[in-house]
């Protein structure tokens, strides 16, 4: 395949991917789920425990600090690690782990970095919704949001979605098109948790939580873990199942600014993460075959479609309603059902689906073209952004 001089060869590759079991009830601790995913990922890479010399652990920022710790190293019996870190940078941590692991293997610091996420938002006495009912403190006055009733991620994201609606004229039916398209993808994914067919009418009939946010605008929290192994691009790792080459990486961050001047609801620093990732890969949005866009809410899918250059400002809602992100559309998006209907493992949802696609293991939803695949992560309240561009080609 001819490549122009501006296209840069892979900096690293994802040589292994592993999952724990997924569940909607409390069955195992986060460290146990993390270990299951880690062991599966190392096996998938065709490696042995002794080959792993770096370990990155990602704990959910919404979880208690002791839920998942560096003790995972002890659990896994990894005696001589040359690189170790705990990530709790909100939900961009998955792609941050990939970013820093890629730099480390490219520099020769380590050979194989195991990157692990696990979370148990559903506890014996806590539902998935309750896990995300804590306030996102927009005011930073203790108790302020509780006093005014602004609860949960749905509260602060509801404000963002309403602002977007006011600025763009996006309609409930257009947000519904995102939910319906994502469900259509989930139906094709054996790993997906929600596979009951959904119509626009089903979406419109779903319960209002924090209007404009309905139940079907929200991600589906589960207990589970996912892990990847990042190896040098020219390493033999990858085994029989193949590798996903890392061609582009980018981050962009701008914390929630409560004193104006920055309209985070209609343009985020995803724009900066996009620019950096496209520049590194030497491509643009038109080259992307399919996109895995962070979709904790239907609104964030639309936000990503605009920030990553697939639509103009305010045009993503119509783009989704025209069917472009659904099966058969021109930009297949969240092909595993995303976080809305697939499985919510924060940034690992999008990254794991991209790896399954690029390595040809996406079964009934397999995309033929895996030349350039975009993965995005978003954390906080659209504050933190990270992107990766993966490919089945090293160059």
């Amino acid at each position: 395949m001819a490549q122009s001089a501006t296209k840069r060869r892979a900096i690293a590759k994802i040589s292994g991917l592993g999952f724990s079991a997924f569940s909607r009830k409390w069955e195992a601790t986060a460290p146990a789920l993390a270990a299951d995913a880690a062991i599966a990922a190392v096996a998938d890479a065709g490696l042995a425990k002794a080959d792993i010399d770096g370990l990155f652990v990602n704990r959910s920022s919404a979880a208690p600090p002791d839920l998942l710790t560096l003790r995972l190293q002890d659990d896994l019996g990894m005696g001589e690690l040359r690189l170790l870190n705990l990530f709790a940078s909100e939900a961009v941590s998955a792609l941050q782990m990939l970013h820093y692991a890629s730099l480390a293997v490219a520099a020769g610091t380590v050979d194989h970095v195991l990157c692990v996420f696990a979370d148990t938002p559903i506890m014996p006495a806590q539902s998935g919704g309750e896990a995300y009912s804590d306030t996102l403190g927009l005011m930073r006055i203790p108790g302020w949001e509780d006093r005014h009733g602004l609860f949960g991620a749905v509260g602060s994201y509801g404000l963002a979605m309403q602002r977007y609606i006011d600025r763009t004229g996006a309609t409930p039916e257009q947000f519904g098109a995102v939910a319906v398209a994502t469900r259509e993808w989930a139906i094709r994914n054996p790993l997906a948790m929600l596979k009951t067919p959904m119509t626009i009418d089903d979406y419109l009939a779903s319960r209002l939580i924090a209007a404009p946010i309905r139940m079907f605008d929200c991600a589906f929290p589960i207990n589970g873990g996912a892990a990847i192994v990042v190896s040098a691009a020219d390493s033999d790792a990858g085994g029989d199942t193949g590798s996903a080459y890392v061609r582009g990486l980018g981050q962009g961050h701008c914390p929630y600014s409560p004193f104006g001047g920055h309209d985070n609801e209609t343009e985020t620093m995803g724009r900066l993460a996009a620019r950096e990732a496209y520049r590194m890969a030497g491509i643009g949005p038109a080259d992307i075959a399919h996109a895995q866009i962070y979709d904790a809410f239907t609104y964030t899918t639309l936000r990503g479609l605009e920030d990553y250059g697939f639509c103009g400002r305010g045009e993503a809602a119509a783009f989704a309603a025209e069917g472009h992100i659904a099966p058969g559309g021109r930009l297949p998006t969240n092909t595993g059902g995303g976080q809305l209907s697939g499985y919510y493992l924060q940034g690992m949802t999008q990254l794991s689906e991209a790896v399954l696609q690029v390595t040809g293991r996406a079964e009934g939803r397999q995309q033929r073209n895996n030349d350039w695949v975009l993965v995005t992560n978003q954390g906080g309240r659209m504050d933190y952004h990270a992107a990766a561009i993966l490919s089945e080609h090293a160059e």
Partner: protein, 130 residues
């Protein structure tokens, strides 16, 4: 999710709450560059000056966004409305509204008793209490 957003200096929160109890909405102002800041700030994020002072907010602003809760997370009866208002001084604040307020509506803040504290109640600027 929210733990790392706790206010850095509890004395600022206390001063803010004391003023609120006395009927005044306070903001911070950077004496070095003049930027108006939310009440939690001890450092000007623009010029890095620590020379900040309290300023009373006029209480007028424009609705930036709003959300209507239909699911109860706490013990506040549903449905209810929470608004995000950009004050005329610049900072955006979270407040309460007793009716729907569309984005762009000009509003004035009133400090309303709420349990053992006060909260910000935003009303349309042309609203006359009967």
């Amino acid at each position: 999710m929210s733990a790392d957003r706790a206010m850095a200096d509890p004395s600022l929160a206390a001063a803010f709450e004391d003023a609120l109890d006395a009927g005044t909405l306070l903001l911070r102002r950077c004496t070095a560059c003049g930027l108006m800041l939310p009440p939690d700030r001890a450092l000007c994020p623009s010029c890095w000056s620590k020379a900040l002072e309290w300023r009373e907010a006029k209480g007028t602003g424009t609705v930036y966004s709003a959300v209507e809760f239909h699911r109860a997370f706490g013990d506040i009866p549903i449905p209810y409305i929470v608004v995000q208002v950009e004050l005329d001084e610049g900072p955006r604040v979270i407040g309460w509204a007793e009716g729907k307020l569309a984005g762009g509506t000009r509003v004035r803040a009133r400090l309303a008793d709420y349990r053992d504290t006060k909260r910000l109640l935003f009303e349309p600027l042309n609203f006359e209490r009967g």
